[in-house]
């Protein structure tokens, strides 16, 4: 009985997040569902409280990073990056793609995949349009790298933040272990996208519609982000949790950019933070009643290469069935028992996997085809073809790279 209730509540929370009903926001369904599970006794109050204690710092970390990225936008960093890409392209589509790769990989690694999807991708579209070149290769590159370039740092993806806390490795060790898998993923994306859009990228010169604006790079914001990164690396050895470094970075950025209080709250996306907490408790409820043991029986134990590959592939499949956030919440407690190597292999799967299906989930895809008119406009076929060409090879080479890194680092 408890099992069925937990699974239904989990399903309802995911459905609400996918359907985006106005009258039933996803955060309210997830939070209400979490309270329902506690009220029905599916999850004890102390279990719920310990889950909140576990997720609290991660959600705070996430809020700080969202505020930091919003500060960068406010300071004009993304417009400046657009101008930088346009100048760096020197009129050649192939070079523009290289610039998009550098900027998107850097933005994703440092400011998280959300910043690339929400803030950078529209800029890339506008930059290509103003250069009168076909925006297709560049927008696809940006969209792909938001996922596949999010392997590097604990701050690159919410899934990484969750895994970072659970795995107990330091910020530096996490990044050192993931550097090689990250580079491997970038290399595969580069080779496949170059080949897939060879025709579009071949034409020699493009001509901008007008002389490019030259917005100043906001060096203060760049400095804050750089110092925050340095802070992440040096804070762990002296016993300060990285969440405080992120909070300090967000604070300095906010003091400089002075958003209105309401804008600051909106930048931290309180609805999303509540959704993550609620979903965490709901998944915990489902995990205690059978979901965890089901996942446990599915996953191999150990950190040899075949086990890591299996973890990455299964995680990618679950991420495509359910979306990567719930996939992480479900799989993470199980792989944590096998050690950091297995946790990082899971991240390869859940981070790269979503490039396979347009909305990161097959169920979502089916649902949105029915509900949302604007999806009529998207070319799901092309997206999936590119996903099929990139995701399986990246899962393979990045996991092998991770295995190598685990032997060395």
């Amino acid at each position: 009985m408890s099992e069925a209730v937990a699974v239904v509540v989990l399903g309802a929370s995911l459905l609400a997040a996918i359907a985006r009903w106005r009258w039933a926001p996803d955060w309210a369904i997830a939070a209400g569902g979490a309270m329902l599970l506690v009220a029905l006794g599916v999850l004890s109050t102390s279990d719920a409280r310990s889950t909140l204690r576990e997720l609290g710092p991660t959600v705070g970390f996430l809020a700080a990073l969202l505020v930091l990225a919003d500060g960068c936008r406010r300071a004009g960093m993304f417009d400046a990056l657009g101008a930088l890409m346009a100048r760096g392209s020197r009129g050649r589509p192939g070079r523009l793609l290289a610039m998009v790769f550098l900027v998107a990989a850097g933005t994703t690694a440092v400011l998280s995949l959300d910043a690339t999807v929400v803030l950078l991708t529209p800029i890339v579209f506008a930059t290509a349009a103003r250069l009168h070149t076909n925006p297709r290769p560049h927008v696809y590159a940006c969209s792909h790298l938001a996922n596949s370039a999010s392997l590097l740092l604990p701050v690159s993806n919410l899934t990484n933040l969750l895994a970072f806390r659970a795995s107990g490795v330091s910020f530096t060790r996490f990044s050192a272990l993931m550097a090689l898998p990250w580079l491997a993923a970038l290399l595969v994306e580069w080779l496949v996208l170059r080949a897939s859009f060879a025709g579009e990228l071949r034409r020699p010169a493009m001509r901008a519609s007008r002389p490019a604006d030259r917005p100043e790079m906001p060096w203060f914001a760049v400095g804050v982000v750089a110092l925050t990164l340095v802070g992440f690396v040096v804070s762990s050895p002296i016993g300060i949790a990285p969440v405080w470094v992120a909070a300090a970075g967000a604070l300095v950025m906010s003091l400089r950019e002075r958003p209105r209080p309401l804008e600051l709250v909106r930048a931290a996306e309180p609805g999303f933070l509540v959704f993550v907490l609620g979903l965490g408790i709901v998944v915990q409820g489902a995990s205690l009643h059978g979901l965890s043991s089901a996942v446990d029986s599915l996953l191999p134990h150990g950190v040899d290469l075949p086990a890591l590959l299996a973890v990455a592939v299964i995680s990618a499949v679950v991420a495509n069935l359910l979306n990567n956030l719930p996939a992480t919440l479900i799989i993470l407690p199980v792989v944590t028992l096998s050690g950091p190597g297995a946790v990082l292999a899971m991240l390869v799967g859940v981070n790269v996997g979503p490039n396979l299906t347009y909305v990161g989930s097959l169920a979502t895809l089916l649902w949105r085809r029915i509900v949302h008119a604007h999806d009529e406009e998207t070319d799901v076929g092309e997206f999936t073809r590119l996903g099929l060409r990139t995701v399986p090879p990246i899962l393979l080479v990045s996991t092998v790279a991770l295995w190598l890194a685990l032997q060395v680092v």
């Binding site: 025709g199 493009m206 719930p326 998207t378």
Partner: protein, 160 residues
């Protein structure tokens, strides 16, 4: 004769030059540009792909407005380069379908190869290939630059 000249981002200059050289003086020319709605959707609805997130739309003009402005500017540049009176037509949607619909009632479609610079099937990209295969009028397929020489052909064994 009513002629549609398909203006595509990376090949339009060569395409316009060939049209000017090859079309009769009395041809009624329409310069057509199609903005791809799927790329715009991928760039602007990206936030909808993040579970549980509801990011506010970024400030500045929406991508639709940017795309429309750049299409107008591209068509204006094409008309200047053509140096002859011509209508311009900016459409938005799935590229292949929009081009084919714009060809209804036309006598001729002028379009440029947009693939590999060699004498081979890949010299025409997949979208252009679709239009080429399904156009409801005569078609003039041009090289946007000087045509490659015969030695760029990779001959199959039986022709060597």
């Amino acid at each position: 004769m009513r002629v549609v000249v398909w203006i595509a981002e990376d090949t339009w200059e060569g395409c316009v030059d060939r049209a000017r050289a090859l079309l009769a003086e009395d041809a009624e020319i329409t310069l057509l540009h199609v903005a791809p709605s799927d790329v715009e959707a991928l760039a602007s609805h990206g936030g909808a792909r993040l579970l549980g997130r509801h990011p506010p739309p970024p400030p500045g003009p929406p991508l639709r407005a940017i795309a429309e402005e750049e299409a107008r500017s591209l068509l204006a540049a094409a008309r200047d380069r053509l140096g002859r009176p011509a209508e311009t037509l900016a459409r938005r949607g799935k590229i292949e379908r929009e081009v084919l619909e714009a060809c209804v009632g036309a006598d001729l479609l002028v379009l440029a190869r947009d693939g590999e610079p060699r004498l081979e099937p890949k010299s025409v990209g997949p979208r252009t290939r679709f239009v080429l295969d399904h156009a409801p009028c005569q078609v003039l397929l041009v090289w946007p630059e000087a045509p490659p020489s015969l030695d760029t052909i990779k001959l199959p064994p039986h022709l060597r």
